[in-house]
């Protein structure tokens, strides 16, 4: 297995995540897509660590940090979704349009 395999997997996962974030109407869906993108990044980091700097574990450490931050993000994000749902009675992104010009 080469680095390119893993990077390709990461890219693909990332692209799927982007597609989801762009197209999901449900805010929770968007959050899920974001998680996918995080994981894509993590795969890349772990792969780089494995193939380019096998002596250290810094890449894995950063991945670990990302996991932590992602967990925090999800918690806050879901709490926000909950708030929005209470306030506007919807979870659809197109209804949350306070930025409308």
């Amino acid at each position: 297995m080469t680095l390119a395999h893993y990077l390709f997997l990461g890219s693909a996962l990332f692209i799927v995540g982007i597609f989801g974030a762009l197209t999901r109407r449900n805010v929770i869906g968007i959050l899920m897509s974001v998680e996918l993108m995080f994981n894509a990044a993590n795969i890349n980091l772990a792969a780089f660590n494995r193939f380019l700097a096998p002596a250290g574990v810094t890449g894995q450490a950063v991945a670990l940090f990302i996991m932590t931050v992602a967990a925090a993000e999800v918690v806050v994000g879901l709490a926000l979704v909950l708030m929005i749902y209470r306030a506007r009675d919807t979870v659809y992104a197109e209804d949350i349009n306070i930025l409308r010009g």
Partner: protein, 174 residues
Amino acid sequence: MIERLAFYSMAALTLGSAILVVTMRNTVHCALLLGLSLLGVAGVFATLGADFLFASQLLIYVGGIAVLMIFAVMLLGRTADLHLRQVNEAWMAALLVVAITLAGLVRLVKLVAGVTAPSPAAPATRPLGLLMMGDFAVPFELVSLVLLAALLGAVFFSRKEETPPPPATRGPSS
């Protein structure tokens, strides 16, 4: 050979469930498939020899985040939504953009074609622990603070208001 098999199967699991996550109508299914996809990622980590990441992935993502998602979907979901379209009208454009991006990324990935692992993977748990308590002590503590703040923030946001919230404001530049 077994390695290759493991990678491809895990990659297929990951990608397949991921694509389903972003395309299925039923949000509950989505959440469940997300867990599956994350499980796949954990497998990929395993093929990379990142033992601690593998464990963390299982614990945090599969055991934590995915479950949280399922709870959230259950909490907010409505039965009527099951029949609504879950993909907005810009999906064609998004698909185009995504395809272009993928092409660009593939081009980039090709730059590193042929890089193989220089040595077999070693256990990473012990060095990671040393790293966390050593050079990365400060970021480590900071991250824990971030977590704490997120926790508090989540509690703050999600508690029920005693007073009814103010009516939704319109955008300032309407």
